[in-house]
Amino acid sequence: MSTNAGNPIVQIRNVYKYFGTLKALDNVSMDVHDGEKVVIIGPSGSGKSTLLRSINQLEKIDYGSIVVDGYKVHDDNTDINKVREEVGMVFQSFNVFPHKTVLDNLNLAQIVVRKRSKKEATEISMELLKKVGITDKIDQYPGKLSGGQQQRVAIARALAMKPKIMLFDEPTSALDPEMIGEVLDVMRNLAREGMTMIVVSHEMGFAREVADRIIFMDYGAIIEEGTPEHFFQNPTKDRTKLFLNQIL
C-alpha cells in the first residue's frame, strides 16, 4: 500500500542531527505516503522522538532534507508555520492550554491561525470533541480533566486544524494504565478514517493492529523496517530481536 500511492507526503533523506557531540539522528531516510500509518519503536534515546519532532521542525536538523507536503522543512526560507498548519502533533505530556476551557483549547488556533469565525470554529470543535468522546466538561478547564481526557482534547485540538498528517509522540506514555485504552481507541478510529499517521509508541498491540509499517530505531539510525507480520514474526536484525525480546 505504501508503494503505489504516488509521491510520498513526507520525504526524509539522509538526515543527521547532533546534540553537542551526541549523534541523535544518523543518516535517516524514510518516506511516508498519504494515508499510511507508520509506527516508530525503539529504546529510549534511540532518536525516534527527535525524528518525529524534526518533521515539523520542533527540532532543526543539521544535514539532509525533509519535505512535507511539498514544503522543504529543512530550508530556513520556508514558512514553517504553513507546514505546521498541515501537520498535527500530539505530545506525551498533552500540553493542553491550562488557562483556556476545553472548547477554547480547540478554538484558539482555528481562530488565530486558520482565521475561522468563532461560530465556525466552535462548530468544528464540538464535532471533534464528540468524536473523541468528550461531550460534557466542554466549558471546564483542563485541570479538572483526567489525563486520558486531556490527551483526547489535545488530539481533537490538533485535528481541528484539519491537518493532512498527524504526529504522535508517545501519546500514552504519561497515562495511567486504565486510561491508555481510551486514547488508543481514538487513534484507532482516526486510522480507520484514513488519516496519515506517524506514531512513536511503546504500545506493541496498537502497532501490530494499526501500523502499515513499523520502523525500529536504535542509536539514531533506522535498523529495520517492515510490516507488523514481518516485524513480530521474522525480524532479521539481531538488535531488533534483542529489543523485541526485552519488551514482549
Binding site: 515539523n56 520542533l58 508555520n81 504553513k82 505546521r84 498548519e85 501537520v87 498535527g88 502533533m89 505530545f91 505530556s93 500540553n95 493542553v96 492550554f97 491550562p98 488557562h99 484558539l108 488556533a109 488565530v112 491561525v113 486558520r114 489535545a154 485540538r157 490538533a158 486544524m161
Partner: protein, 265 residues
C-alpha cells in the same frame, strides 16, 4: 533510594527577604499577628494623637491627604509604565536575537547597579536638558525606568516558569512565536507574576517618597512643608511615618489576598 538522597542532600534553606512589610501568610491565623498589631496599633496611635493632641496632630492630618493623592498618582503611573517597560525588557532578555538580548541585559545591569536616588536625579536633570516636563512627569518616568528593570526580571522569570511544552504545542498548531506568546504564554505568566508585581507596587510606593526632593508634593514633601512652617518636625514626621505604614500594610494585605485567590485557582 530517593529517601537516602533526600537525607544526604537536604533542601537548601531559602532566605526570602522582601522589600516591604511582611506579607501576611494564610497560616498566621492568630489574633496577634505582626500585621494586626502594627495595623491596629498605627490606626490607634493616629486616632489618639488626632483626638487628644489636636494641636498639631489634627492639623497635620488635614494637611497630608493632598500628598497621599500625589503619592498614589506617582506610584500608579510609574507602575503602569514600569509594567510596559518590564514586558519588553523581559521579552528582550529571553530573545534569541543577540542585539535585542544584549540591550535588555545591559539596561537591567546598569539600572540595578545605580542607587534609585541617583537615578532620579540623573534622569530628572537629563530629561530637563531635552524636554521641559512638569516635575511630576519626570519623577514618574524616572521611577518607571528604574522599576522597569526589576519588572523585566519578574516578567522573564514568569515567562520561563511556563513549561516549554506550551510553546511547542502552540507552535505546532501553526502559531507564530508572537501569537504563541500573546495567546498562550503571557496569559499564563501573568498569573504567576501578579504577586511579585504586587510586592513591587508596595516597594515602589515607599520609594516614591524619594520624589519629594524633585519638587513633587507627595506625602513626604507635604509633611516637610508643614513642618518647616510650624517647626513641628518630630510630630509631623511621626504622622507621615504612621500614614505610610497604614498604606503599605493595607496594600500588602491586598497582595496576599490576591495571592491566595490565584493559588486557589
Amino acid at each position: 533510594m530517593a529517601e537516602i538522597k533526600e537525607t544526604l542532600n537536604p533542601k537548601p534553606a531559602v532566605i526570602a527577604v522582601t522589600d516591604g512589610p511582611a506579607i501576611p501568610h494564610k497560616k498566621d491565623v492568630g489574633l496577634f499577628t505582626a500585621w494586626r498589631v502594627s495595623f491596629i496599633g498605627a490606626i490607634a496611635i493616629i486616632a489618639y494623637l488626632a483626638i487628644f493632641n489636636r494641636d498639631p496632630y489634627w492639623e497635620i492630618l488635614q494637611f497630608l491627604p493632598d500628598g497621599i493623592l500625589v503619592t498614589f498618582q506617582v506610584t500608579v503611573e510609574a507602575i503602569i509604565l514600569a509594567l510596559i517597560i518590564g514586558l519588553f525588557t523581559g521579552l528582550g532578555r529571553i530573545s534569541k536575537n543577540r542585539v535585542i538580548n544584549g540591550i535588555a541585559s545591559l539596561y537591567v545591569e546598569v539600572i540595578r547597579g545605580i542607587p534609585l536616588l541617583v537615578q532620579l536625579f540623573y534622569i530628572y536633570f537629563a530629561l530637563g536638558r531635552v524636554v521641559n516636563l512638569p516635575a511630576i512627569a519626570s519623577a514618574v518616568i524616572a521611577m518607571a525606568v528604574c522599576y522597569g528593570a526589576y519588572m523585566g526580571e519578574i516578567f522573564r522569570a514568569g515567562i520561563e516558569s511556563i513549561p516549554h511544552g506550551q510553546m511547542e504545542a502552540a507552535r505546532s498548531l501553526g502559531m507564530s512565536t508572537g501569537q504563541a506568546m500573546r495567546h498562550v504564554i503571557l496569559p499564563q505568566a501573568f498569573k504567576t507574576i501578579l504577586p511579585p508585581v504586587g510586592n513591587e507596587f508596595v516597594a515602589l510606593l515607599k520609594d516614591s517618597s524619594l520624589v519629594s526632593i524633585l519638587a513633587v508634593s507627595d506625602l513626604l514633601r507635604r509633611g516637610r512643608e508643614f513642618a518647616s512652617e510650624t517647626f513641628t518636625y518630630f510630630e509631623t514626621y511621626t504622622m507621615v511615618a504612621l500614614v505610610y505604614l497604614v498604606i503599605t500594610l493595607v496594600l500588602s494585605k491586598l497582595v496576599s489576598i490576591m495571592e491566595e485567590r490565584i493559588s486557589v485557582d
